[in-house]
Amino acid sequence: MTHPTFDTVQTGDALPPLQLAPVDRATLALFGGASGDHNPIHIDTDFARRSGMPDVFAQGMLGMAWLGRLLTGWAPQSRLRRFDVRFAGITHLGNAMRCEGRVIEKLEAEGERRVRIEVHSTNQHGQTKIAGEAVVALP
């Protein structure tokens, strides 16, 4: 795989999108164990319903990890300088998330050439669940 360089990247360029399979309970259980987030609201339907939710739902950090895959699939993680997101909505079972990113600025900072990237994830109904920005240093 060839990695992007500062000179070849242009403002407005899209990152290769990442399409995920619909969220299922097994994924939530695995992520709960792997991430250390044992909150039963993500893995126990009874608890979720007692909490006023229709069913279990995805951990926010699972969606952020998918956006992380979008970024590190584009440029090596060692070049990632910042990664900030806002969780805009709950990702429900059956949501098939699509992660997308776009270069919105080329800049120089701290002696490096960097790009600012807008990232977001949306479900199959076009609802945005996570939105944020990342900064990546490019050679």
């Binding site: 792997a34 950090m61 900030d84």
Partner: protein, 146 residues
């Protein structure tokens, strides 16, 4: 209402050893297929001493240690009402298998919106390695839906 006295509170330090099997489990859970995250040889070829922790992995530190559970208990926020509002990372150096990461956090702010229907807790964290080098800074906004 969450007591504002917790603004400025410093949480106990959490230690997170970066372990190979845990990183492979995490990679599986998020569907990561890039061998840099699962195979030592690929990680070394990419310039890391061993498997690197993916960008969001260090959030596990205060979950594993129980510091996050204690914070929620102190604040009086039940899990049933908890949502994650925002999360940010700034990165300074990689965390790889063999490193032990220490996370120290502070409650920066507590505020509410919609006449208390939503309460927000802002926590900032510094993650350092066993050489006391800064690895990452984190910012978390927790939301309590009342």
């Amino acid at each position: 209402m969450i007591d504002r006295k917790w603004i400025g509170h410093e949480l106990p330090a959490s230690q997170l050893p970066i372990e190979r099997s845990r990183l492979r489990f995490f990679a599986k859970a998020i569907g990561e297929t890039d061998p840099v995250y699962t195979e030592e040889a690929a990680a070394r070829n990419a310039g890391y001493p061993d498997l690197p922790a993916p960008p969001t992995f260090l959030f596990a530190a205060e979950l594993d240690s129980g510091v996050n559970d204690q914070l929620l208990a102190d604040l009086g926020v039940p899990l049933a009402k908890l949502l994650h509002g925002e999360q940010g990372f700034s990165y300074h150096r990689p965390a790889c298998v063999g490193d032990t990461i220490t996370v120290r956090s502070r409650i920066e702010d507590i505020y509410d919106k919609k006449n208390g229907a939503l309460e927000f807790v802002v926590k900032t964290s510094r993650a350092t390695n066993q050489n006391d080098e800064l690895v990452a800074e984190m910012r978390t906004v927790l939301v309590c839906r009342n």
